[in-house]
Symmetry: C3
Subunit: 266 residues, 3 copies
């Protein structure tokens, strides 16, 4: 894998400073706003039915996260998503908790059916559920899948014609044909709330600078993983780590992406 | 008080990693999620009427916090609470601001009437109001009660048949018969938003590993108080203290509970 | 400018510890709560139509922030605002994203029409839009105005009979007659989400101790700016800076305001 592409995407993103429109949960929304700023983009959160179509028109990407969804928010997502599709603005879907409740599974499936999504980013359990495979999701955590994660991710990507990012100790990014394994990351990223949501925000930021969703998503997760590794050097507990994680995303240079990426094309 | 019980509850909780379902305010929800992770449990926040019964079925405890309540959220709490009661899942109620407005007082009373609550955790003013005594609550702060705090807490606990935790410089935990005073804690815990809410989350986590609510609640508040003391050793301002508070909850060992607990059985 | 006034306002505020009622967005609400505590006031967030009039009655100030507004929240703001007006409780309006969508512009204008607002605090683009001038607002960021910022701020203040605070590298505070330039602040304040919202919270706290809105607003922004400068001394990345920013607001002394204020009366 030539990680020069990753580093130029980061440069381009910082030059463009795209607006990333989020319709997201109220638990980690502040983290999403700040990580979007740290990577070099501009976050906006807006959910009112009356304004989401107008807001998304200005955006470089739309991030939909169903972490604390309800009926009114699903409607917001559909309105914003349809406008994003008309304008070819990429949509990132984070199907938080799909599989844990019927509402979440159905909502994720409805968004996938009614909208043209560019990237689904979820944990193994969530991706398995959306692929129609067996996966166990308890609350918002994956408790395992039956079968091979890569095959599940590829199968979902192929059947829907989009990019799937399955997070884990090794992240998998695939469009069903090209698949990338990303080994960057740090254990403490799993000890704080919101790293999954933040990853989706960063995917959104990167997706606004290239139409190649596999590359933009892999670049985003690699960037976040490297920042996590840097934050983990001197921090051994989750909240001091979290502070450093934001700082390291902010300080991340395009060169860091070339130097520290640990990615494998499968 | 034999604090060996406290330490084994913490060990059990970390082994079980219970799901703690929160229906809570949007001000401190991120803190609640992170403190739940730090103590060793798994947080989930979900409020949609369509999913709360299903979500709570997977949980070890349900935390209801009325900090930014509205009608729709009260309904969510009732639906989730009724299901929790059917499944004998303990419910922790944090009646934030009861006494400050009629809506809050009525909502807290309705939840206490319609649901079988295991633990009410509030400040002195909130507890006094719910006990039908005189208490002054301004915003979300207690501005004093008339009468003896222990008697008020015992009276509420006895009349409702549950455990009351009254927070303060010394926390009081009582079921009306057995009462425990907890002297652990640090002054800076009162200088940041959300420590009360976080305490309720920790109570939820501990409540999932024993049916003895007085003990689980006392263990939770003792654990949080000890972490606060540790965080206060090298921090003199609220936000660096807050970072350390999460870290110290994460690092807290069962042995710390035996070693540093300052509790008195009354 | 005699900054003794600023320092005595801070002393008074800390002695009075006013309740600051916020109806605000869910992105930065936790930051608003904590910064309100750090400056020495008491935050409360409440939006239910049934309770906002009662809650605001106890408050020293009402902060309205339209960062994630929807129809129901606009209604909450109108109910709370009308009661605040009856009781002469000052209202601070932060018209987040006015100009970015019709909903936000119309909502800000409706609040300005239906309520007696004391202070509008916004970025240059937002203020220009409300003044009927040309301003570009993308998401929640100002992308420039046509014309002289001071003239625009003065024109809005004069036409509405209130105080306008226009944030920027140099903050402008004016009631159309008296204008103050504030040079305090730090570049990293623009790199984290929520500093604008926090500034409005601090304006609310200060507004509760004097009827002179120009002075209270200038004192608030100066205080926040000085804390930012102090936080910037040893921090070079946004999130460690943010932690220090809260701490420095907490540690700020009345003497600091006299010593470090860089304000110019125009």
């Amino acid at each position: 894998m030539n990680c020069k592409t990753f580093s130029s995407l980061l440069s381009n993103l910082r030059e463009k400073r795209p607006l990333v429109h989020h319709i997201t949960n109220y638990v980690t929304v502040n983290d999403c706003a700040n990580i979007t700023l740290c990577i070099g983009a501009a976050p906006v959160m807006a959910h009112a039915h009356e304004e989401v179509a107008e807001m998304v028109s200005m955006a470089g990407a739309l991030v939909l996260n169903i972490g604390t969804l309800d009926k009114s928010q699903i409607e917001s997502m559909l309105i914003a998503g349809k406008r994003a599709n008309q304008l070819n603005i990429p949509i990132i879907l984070d199907p938080v908790g799909a599989g844990a409740t019927r509402l979440r599974t159905e909502c994720a499936n409805r968004l996938l059916h009614d909208l043209k999504i560019s990237v689904i980013k979820g944990n193994a359990g969530e991706i398995a559920i959306l692929a129609g495979e067996e996966g166990i999701v308890k609350g918002v955590d994956s408790h395992g899948v039956k079968g091979d994660p890569l095959s599940i991710a590829k199968s979902l990507a192929s059947s829907l014609g989009l990019t799937v990012a399955m997070s884990g100790a090794t992240d998998i990014v695939t469009d069903g044909k090209k698949s990338i394994f990303i080994d960057n990351g740090h254990e403490l990223m799993g000890k704080i709330s919101g790293t999954g949501c933040m990853a989706a925000s960063i995917c959104g930021a990167f997706s606004s600078v290239t139409e190649d969703s596999v590359t933009s998503t892999a670049a985003a997760l690699t960037a976040f993983g490297i920042a996590g590794e840097k934050a983990g050097v001197n921090n051994y507990a989750p909240f001091s780590f979290k502070t450093s994680l934001f700082d390291e995303v902010y300080k991340l240079s395009p060169e860091d992406l070339e130097k520290y990426a640990r990615v494998r094309v499968i």
